[in-house]
């Protein structure tokens, strides 16, 4: 099996706030991420597709095709947006790295028709990232 990975970047604003908690609890739980005016990150997304190369093309999935999917599903939706207000898929969710990566996984899964979506890795900063992987039931690769 071969894995191919494509990287894209997008820049977005967000803040963390749970309306079910008091203002004081929000500040305690979320710290500076609770600033109501928001703050931003340069997100780096790495998407990995696994599969066997097509004998006719030598490719698992044409990277151009993957690039177009990532542009349309992720960059067009999230780049230079406020994640709390402008991305319907995140409505009602706190836009943490974990939740954004999960939403990206859900957006990409039905659109990867050649090979298999293997991993979505989203960096919020060089020192923090979330991974989404398929459940392996202990028999497959590790995350």
């Amino acid at each position: 099996m071969i894995r191919i990975t494509r990287k894209v970047e997008f820049s977005a604003a967000h803040f963390y706030h749970n309306p079910a908690l008091s203002a004081e609890e929000n500040r305690r739980v979320f710290g500076k991420c609770n600033n109501p005016h928001g703050h931003g990150h340069n997100y780096v997304l790495e998407v990995t597709i696994a599969g066997e190369p097509d004998p006719a093309t030598g490719m698992v999935l044409d990277l151009k095709e993957l690039k177009d999917i990532l542009q349309k599903q992720v960059v067009d939706r999230m780049d230079h947006r406020h994640l709390n207000y402008e991305v319907p898929e995140l409505a009602g969710k706190i836009p943490t790295c974990e939740n954004i990566a999960s939403v990206i996984w859900q957006l990409l899964m039905p659109r990867i028709t050649k090979g298999k979506l293997d991993r979505v890795r989203l960096y919020e900063s060089p020192d923090l990232f979330a991974d989404c992987t398929a459940e392996t039931n202990g028999a497959g690769r590790r995350a």
Partner: protein
């Protein structure tokens, strides 16, 4: 779908690779310049990976406000600007290779209460990295 969270930390430390089970010549042949008697140092990068359910109230597997101080106290404060062979008691009898460092850091972080520790990965330099995870039972 399974979600994990990884946080990168840094510490700078010195060490010397020398095994009490080997002769001076054998140590020198095996470890080469890493056996130099006065030790040498690295800027280590430690990646800590945690799994667990995403708490709907916070959107998080774990709150960094909780993770950072835990890793800070149990690992970074104990290792940063230290001579691993002497200043970290566990390495007085175990060679402080990065393999062993991965296991020791995993051991120290395993008791983290808020999520499940999945993996410790260490970059000893920009060219070497090592990973440790415990096999699923």
């Amino acid at each position: 779908m399974k979600v994990s969270l990884t946080r990168r930390y840094r510490f700078a430390a010195s060490h010397r690779l020398h095994s009490a089970k080997l002769s001076e010549d054998e140590n020198s042949a095996l470890y080469g310049k890493c056996n130099s008697p006065y030790g040498h140092g690295h800027n280590y990068v430690v990646e800590v990976t945690l799994t667990g359910p995403i708490d709907p109230a916070t959107g998080m597997i774990t709150n960094l406000g909780e993770l950072d101080p835990f890793v800070g106290t149990t690992v970074i404060e104990a290792f940063d600007y230290k001579y691993l062979n002497e200043d970290v008691p566990e390495f007085r009898s175990v060679v402080p290779t990065t393999e062993n460092l991965c296991r020791e850091i995993f051991r120290r972080l395993k008791s983290y209460p808020a999520a499940t520790l999945e993996r410790v990965r260490i970059e000893e330099t920009g060219k070497n990295s090592f990973e440790y995870e415990e096999s699923a039972s």
